[in-house]
């Protein structure tokens, strides 16, 4: 009996040691950088060393007072919103149609939608840019062009979660709805849509966030800087101007805004867990 207890204790110890490298990575490469970024945003630029020597709100004030940059942030949000709506309008029906196909075809369809994600994003944006320049050159440097570019890249991110949720809907539910006299449209809106809501919200989060913070798409599809997004500001501040503290401040303002939006979207998710297979991993 004692032996087994010893072994169990040993096992416990070993397994705690196992997580040490992970916690090292987590603390040094995730937690501390964020902390440093916050600290840095209150420093003057061009300071060396880790320890904060000064405190200033200049960066925040400079950013918030510059209407051009505040506008850049909100226009990024608008672009992200438009992208999300567009991917939803395209992606939801797409996922819906796929669920009605033969099992084998479903797999093919998913592979076909998934496949472009394996190709480097910059290559895909470049290719899209070429096509747009060839056929519809007026879309370059426009709001619509940037949105189309974002939809092109992030469409799979919307389709896949929605498909995952739709495919889990118990067909019996649909049958009982039909038995109870509901028309096809009614079933669609009163049964299917609410049940798929968690997938939709997943998709929205996975499209909205990257779309709002992209730096690549506007650089390729709006090279004349007409569509100035918040990511562009952060990139130029760091790469061109070396103003890392300023960029940190902008990044933090951006994070706060995004956190607010994400928090709200997560609150909308009331239907999580209705489809019993979903285990909460978070």
């Amino acid at each position: 009996m004692q032996d087994l207890m010893q072994v169990a204790k040993k096992k416990r110890k070993l397994e705690h040691y196992l997580s040490i490298p992970y916690y090292l990575v987590l603390i040094i490469l995730v937690v501390i950088p964020i902390f440093l970024m916050v600290v840095s945003s209150f420093q003057y630029d061009n300071q060396s060393g880790i320890f904060p020597i000064s405190f200033t709100l200049n960066h925040y004030m400079d950013f918030l007072k510059a209407t051009a940059f505040v506008r850049a942030m909100t226009s990024s949000l608008w672009i992200a919103l438009a992208t999300t709506v567009a991917t939803l309008l395209i992606g939801y029906p797409l996922a819906y149609f796929i669920t009605h196909m033969k099992a084998r075809t479903q797999v093919t369809m998913l592979l076909l939608i998934n496949a472009p994600m394996w190709i480097n994003m910059l290559l895909r944006v470049r290719a899209l840019e070429q096509i747009i320049r060839m056929f519809t050159p007026f879309l370059i440097d426009s709001f619509a062009g940037v949105v189309i570019g974002l939809v092109y890249i992030y469409l799979p991110f919307m389709v896949l979660p929605i498909y995952a949720v739709l495919s889990k809907i118990d067909p019996n539910l649909l049958e009982s709805a039909a038995d109870l006299g509901a028309s096809k449209t009614k079933t669609l809106f009163k049964v299917i849509v609410p049940l798929s809501l968690s997938g939709v919200l997943s998709g929205i989060l996975m499209v909205f966030l990257p779309a709002a913070t992209t730096i690549i798409i506007p650089q390729y599809l709006a090279p004349s800087q007409n569509i100035y997004m918040i990511g562009t500001l952060i990139e130029k501040s760091i790469i061109n101007n070396g103003r890392i503290s300023y960029a940190s401040a902008v990044a933090i303002v951006l994070s706060v805004v995004i956190l607010g939006i994400v928090y709200y979207i997560k609150k909308l998710d009331k239907y999580k867990g209705v489809n019993s297979n979903e285990k909460e991993v978070y």
Partner: protein, 396 residues
């Protein structure tokens, strides 16, 4: 199968970790399209030293990256950047006894010499560029235009760039090369120490000029101005103009009367560089044959007096482009000087101007922005309120 995979991974890791150092490497940080690659290859063959080229498209980027800890063996920045790097002690003084193929007292082209002397003899702010750099190319900035589409009468100083209603216009995407035309056009007394009013006037000029259909470019110019040229009027460096005019004979180069920026780019050796490699490369490139080949390929004016005079003499490669190769230095032309304060202001303002581009100036924040702010605000408030209400409900 498992073992196989593991072995492959291990092998890959080991091979990656082992540094295959085959000879030394010279890290050259240079403008894009600013050197004849054939010469680089010739250097590598002759000396066995491998040259790794990294490119930047503005001095601002170059300075940021050097300050950020990137180590290079040779960098080719512009005059004011050289000043800044020297003052920040990021580059070493040139040991001219090690420069054997170029003599700084006798081999410098006349026009360049007068620029260098002006900066050195500046009463208030003297700086000897030759102390920290070996000249590489020099020139000025002007307007490259399409003779077929642009009416000569419209060429009216730097204000020509404001004619976006009539022509396709391209500005250069760097804060200095945007502010210089602006400051000159609004008649600032000097581009190096503008007063607050002069600076604001320049900002206004730029904001007016940068409408939605104006382009802001850097290296795209090499492709865009070939026949058929995408832009009618473009801010251009003299050397780029030479190159493009030789490729597209419909183009011409014009230097506005208000004056422009004359500049010189030079080799600098960063602190911590492998100096032997640096000097080897400098000596190679500054030699008569290589300097000649380089200037003929790239199109910029060479600092070497003998090569320079040969280029503009009858039979020389640039005899037809004297106006841009033989840089005329007018009274109003200025060299940019290092001014940290001004630089920061210009850099920040330039981003703001770009962000404002395409928006109506009087709009202020704009309706869509206000809606977005109000919308996000409402979301936050309602979710907070709902949260509280729900809690209360649960408590009842």
């Amino acid at each position: 199968m498992k073992k196989g995979l593991f072995l492959v991974l291990l092998f890959a890791l080991i091979f990656g970790l082992a540094s295959c150092d085959q000879g030394e490497t010279l890290r050259l940080y240079n403008w894009g399209e600013y050197i004849d690659d054939a010469l680089v290859e010739a250097f590598e063959e002759e000396t066995g030293i491998r040259v790794k080229q990294i490119a930047f498209d503005s001095n601002e980027v170059a300075i940021t990256q050097i300050k950020g800890g990137n180590q290079y063996d040779l960098v080719i920045p512009s005059d004011y950047a050289i000043e800044q790097l020297a003052l920040d002690e990021l580059i070493i003084e040139i040991n001219w006894s090690k420069v054997t193929t170029f003599n700084k007292d006798t081999d410098v082209a006349d026009g360049l010499k007068s620029i260098l002397d002006d900066v050195k003899n500046d009463a208030e702010d003297s700086f000897d560029l030759l102390k920290y750099s070996v000249p590489y190319f020099w020139g000025n900035v002007g307007i490259l235009y399409n003779t077929e589409t642009v009416d000569q009468a419209d060429l009216d100083g730097w204000d020509t760039l404001l004619l976006s209603d009539t022509y396709n216009i391209a500005f250069y995407n760097s804060s200095r090369d945007a502010f210089m035309p602006a400051l000159k056009a609004t008649q600032a007394s000097t581009i190096n120490h503008p007063t607050v009013q002069e600076f604001n006037a320049a900002v206004s000029w730029l904001s007016t000029g940068l409408t939605a259909d104006v382009s802001v470019i850097t290296d795209e110019i090499f492709d865009a101005m070939l026949d058929p040229a995408r832009y009618d009027i473009a801010v251009s460096y003299s050397g780029d103009a030479n190159y493009l005019m030789s490729e597209n004979d419909k183009l011409d180069f014009y230097v506005p009367e208000e004056g422009t920026n004359v500049w010189v780019d030079g080799f600098v050796i960063p602190v911590g560089a492998n100096e032997d490699l640096s000097y080897a490369f400098i000596n190679f490139m500054m030699d008569y044959d290589q300097a000649k080949q380089n200037t003929e390929y790239v199109g910029y004016s060479t600092p070497r007096k003998d090569v320079f005079e040969e280029m503009i003499a009858p039979g020389g490669s640039f005899v037809d482009y004297q106006s841009s190769y033989d840089v005329r230095i007018n009274d109003n032309d200025e060299v940019y000087r290092y001014n940290e304060n001004l630089k920061q202001q210009m850099d920040a303002k330039w981003q703001e101007i770009l962000a404002n581009k395409g928006f109506d100036q009087d709009e202020g924040l704009g309706t869509s922005t206000l809606i977005a702010i109000i919308g996000v605000g409402l979301l936050v408030v309602t979710s907070a309120v709902l949260g509280v209400i729900k809690k209360k409900k649960n408590q009842i």
